[in-house]
Symmetry: D2
Subunit: 141 residues, 4 copies
Amino acid sequence: MAVPDILQLHPEKPTTHFDEVRAAIEACFETQQVATICADACLAEENVAELRECIRLDLDCADFCAATGRLIARQAHPQPDFWRAALEACIEACRSCANECAKHENQHEHCRITREACERCIDACQKVLDALPQGGAETRH
Amino acid sequence: MAVPDILQLHPEKPTTHFDEVRAAIEACFETQQVATICADACLAEENVAELRECIRLDLDCADFCAATGRLIARQAHPQPDFWRAALEACIEACRSCANECAKHENQHEHCRITREACERCIDACQKVLDALPQGGAETRH
Amino acid sequence: MAVPDILQLHPEKPTTHFDEVRAAIEACFETQQVATICADACLAEENVAELRECIRLDLDCADFCAATGRLIARQAHPQPDFWRAALEACIEACRSCANECAKHENQHEHCRITREACERCIDACQKVLDALPQGGAETRH
Amino acid sequence: MAVPDILQLHPEKPTTHFDEVRAAIEACFETQQVATICADACLAEENVAELRECIRLDLDCADFCAATGRLIARQAHPQPDFWRAALEACIEACRSCANECAKHENQHEHCRITREACERCIDACQKVLDALPQGGAETRH
């Protein structure tokens, strides 16, 4: 469990929302992995031609989860407006991917696993979003 | 100029906003490069301790420009809500980075180059954002 | 445990070295997270000027672990020469990062966590490397 | 032309091989873009089922070009063993992708553009590789 350990050792670790931040980092990186594998599994399916959108949205989701996971991992001085926009983008990426995966999960169980990972990631990002200071007018330019 | 060429050859290339999409792909990838180099240049400066936020925001900006550039490059069937959130996140990433770079550009010219690249990327993303269909209620779930 | 589950559901899942591939995917993604957090923790330390190389190598390591983790996650038809070169690059990235972290781990425990993650990732990549078919002359051009 | 400019402004810019380093950074980022678009174009083709390997290798190539471009962009203190392994991995990624694209370029011109970008990237990486100090025994552990 290296991630919770190292986050505890950060000299400016999150003081008020440690568990939410840690959970969102882990959810983003897990979803990156799962969506990457789902895209490749879809590519290997016989009905690949029906899975084009699923492959695209898996790749999009993996890229936004990666960028968001790295952003939250650099958590020392969050910029509220940027974090809010980033978390909302990650949530939309996961929502688009989950909606598409849901169409294929009866036929392909890897799509069910990915939908579930996306839903966990949406929840984890929403909890960080809820914990961000409101307004943020002072940081917008 | 391989990028405009290959985008022209995509079987579902953007029909109405080709120039905006192409310009945003190129701006996102350019800003990823410039911000990555700026972070490393800041690390090499004597006053690195005063550049901590600049390094962090350079890295954040590079990651969001990379994810957004890849998303727009997969442009066949844009999901309006997701694209809107992603472009807004990229714009906020560039804005945070540009604001911080502006504080250091008198002393470090690489910060000026990065601020300028971020401003070009904001413009390019805004033009794609303006071209997206409004509403998007039909795609939100 | 979504990653082992989804890998089991891939229509062309690894048949002979499933455990090695799964372990390497997880080690690469874990090291990406840990090295990203270590870079940010180093940036927050008072003696940041002595940690410049550590920050750089943390970032390099995170990027190569991410690329290698994604490569191995797309495991259906490995190209032996490419996989060998990629795994060797990931091992060198982790080795460079671990060597630098070792210099700072008495002072900064996050560097110890990162060194340990890098060492686990080296082991996991080496096991996949050992399992690859030798030679590969037929695929080199 | 922001990339050559900012590299010139790096306080520890490459003194002996500036042009080779700059060209490799640009080639890696260009190939990342082109291969990302090629993967998406392949997904949109009617014969997508015959293009599975091409899509996979495009994605692999984009990921290794991105990681290598970022590594070379952080060029202040190259570690010869790590750089050598990374450049060799990037060259193998481009070679695998170019070989696969060559099979489809009569039918799909986007595959020709990608093969050509990969070949330029191989050349650019090879020039940096040739410029690295030989041996490197002192840095290997």
